[in-house]
Symmetry: C2
Subunit: 171 residues, 2 copies
Amino acid sequence: MEFFKLKKEKNSLPQQEQESFMKRAIELSEVGMESNEGGPFGAVIVNNGRIVGEGFNQVTSLNDPTAHAEIIAIREACHNLSTFDLADCIIFTSCEPCPMCLAAIYWANIDEIFYANTKEDANNIGFRDYFIYNEFNKPINKRKKKFTQLLNKEAKQVFCNWALKTDKVEY
Amino acid sequence: MEFFKLKKEKNSLPQQEQESFMKRAIELSEVGMESNEGGPFGAVIVNNGRIVGEGFNQVTSLNDPTAHAEIIAIREACHNLSTFDLADCIIFTSCEPCPMCLAAIYWANIDEIFYANTKEDANNIGFRDYFIYNEFNKPINKRKKKFTQLLNKEAKQVFCNWALKTDKVEY
């Protein structure tokens, strides 16, 4: 009950402001596409009613498969706010985030997501978001990639050292 | 059958070389942790038997929640090879990739993944990989984040423009 209340209260932007930020995200999706920087995706990050990070897809122009709109917007917002924790921010994205961007939103602690197109819409114009989501639901040995585990004992020693480390910065 | 053959043939590195690349990934996980740049994670990307990209987690030092080892290694490999397509590359990572990094591996077209620690190992030292994977399995309205759809019609117009665009670079 408390948790539900918290989630509701966070969505405090009036509908008109929500639409205005989403229009900016959609505008960015168009700008990036028209300038041939990448796919038709845009995103903005809002903190206390103002935009603190923006991005549009630049995968093909930057030669960076991670240069999705949301990733760029998160990196810019973190840079502008000098933090790796965007817990007080909201993201507006022109399309439901792909698994990479959705996980980045979780790692950045953004709790509220506004989206316009769905991953099915993205699938219909040839993007693989849906396929990747489906892969995640399969056991590791049934996926279309080959996974092999190696040297677990050696790597686990580093994890033990982390657990024992007294001056670590957790995230 | 063909597909299976293709997957098998790609894993052409001798065991000793595999272990040597994984040792480098584990070494990087230790370097980043000891220098307090981020969590205990390292990754290397290999193309034709040589390392073309490396990374260790730098989330807290760079104020970038997307600065995971695999993301940094993918960006470096793409930069070094001047491409957004790492189809001929293999990744060695000191831990089973989180959903962000796994999806990045899919977007980069890397077909083979060697890992040392598992996501359960990461969970045991306090990382949220496992929690985020579980969130992905829930319907959008059951997740611990608030999702709201807005302005689908306006955003879909941009997708239609993409579908009709004649000079687009697909990825």
